[in-house]
């Protein structure tokens, strides 16, 4: 990989990776660290990307996602990454902006539900691309996505039932 190739890849994917990492971690500073580490890893070992297995965007999202999960395990070693039985409580929406409430709802999802939801809803990846990015089979991805949406509907029910709250944008 030449310097030009690397610069082109960085310019094309940095924003997608940064937003994904921010939504995964809830922190712009942590997102910057993750995207930096992702591109440095790619620069050191570009052969890890196999063009036959998917797009570069899926590959880089997968690297960033793995780094984010590693960080989550380090910070909260006893939290289950995919607690399917967890029922998220409704969020208190009083006097808060809708975007902040949505951010809190996503942060409350288990990490393995959060990543597939972000990739599907915000980055609009296809199910195949999500499977490659999270290195999981299609049924598992569909199941996690379904649970993530159900959890979010439960948490955000007050916002879904009422349109245009006073603090909405």
């Amino acid at each position: 990989m030449t310097d030009t190739d690397f610069q082109a890849a960085y310019a094309a994917h940095k924003d997608v990776l940064f937003r994904f990492a921010w939504r995964m971690t809830g922190s712009p500073a942590a997102a910057e660290d993750l995207v930096h580490d992702c591109f440095i890893a790619f620069l050191r070992n570009p052969a890890a990307f196999d063009r036959d297995r998917g797009t570069l965007r899926s590959f880089l999202l997968g690297v960033t996602r793995n780094l984010a999960l590693k960080r989550a395990r380090r910070e909260r070693p006893f939290r289950d990454l995919d607690d399917g039985s967890a029922v998220a409580p409704a969020i208190d929406i009083a006097n808060r902006e809708r975007a902040a409430i949505v951010a809190e709802g996503i942060a409350l999802l288990p990490p393995l539900q959060r990543d597939v939801l972000i990739l599907a809803e915000y980055e609009e990846l296809t199910l195949d691309e999500i499977c490659r990015a999270v290195d999981a089979e299609l049924p598992a991805v569909k199941s996690r996505l379904h649970r993530a949406r159900e959890n979010l509907k439960r948490m955000l029910r007050p916002l879904l039932e009422t349109k245009g709250l006073p603090h909405g944008r």
Partner: protein, 97 residues
Amino acid sequence: MDDDKKLSDLLKEWQLPGTPASLDARVFGPRTPWWKLLFIGSIRIPVPVALAIAAALIVMAVALIHRPAPPQSSTSVDLAGFHPVTDMNYRIIRGDE
């Protein structure tokens, strides 16, 4: 299905900005002028190459130390065996002769 659409629309309300400039600087590093590299630059050398260069320098140093000194050229005159003349005849030649 309708709920999924409502949820998607609601999620889209959380939008984020792009990457900060500080990330570019961290990934690519500050640009260093070429002349500064002469003072602060470094190069990576494989260990076998470094050992070969070190061995060559040691051999050259040893060879220089043990090189035989060249014969010294002397400007002094050896007077051993010099005898002054015993009978000296000299003749004065004038310019008009």
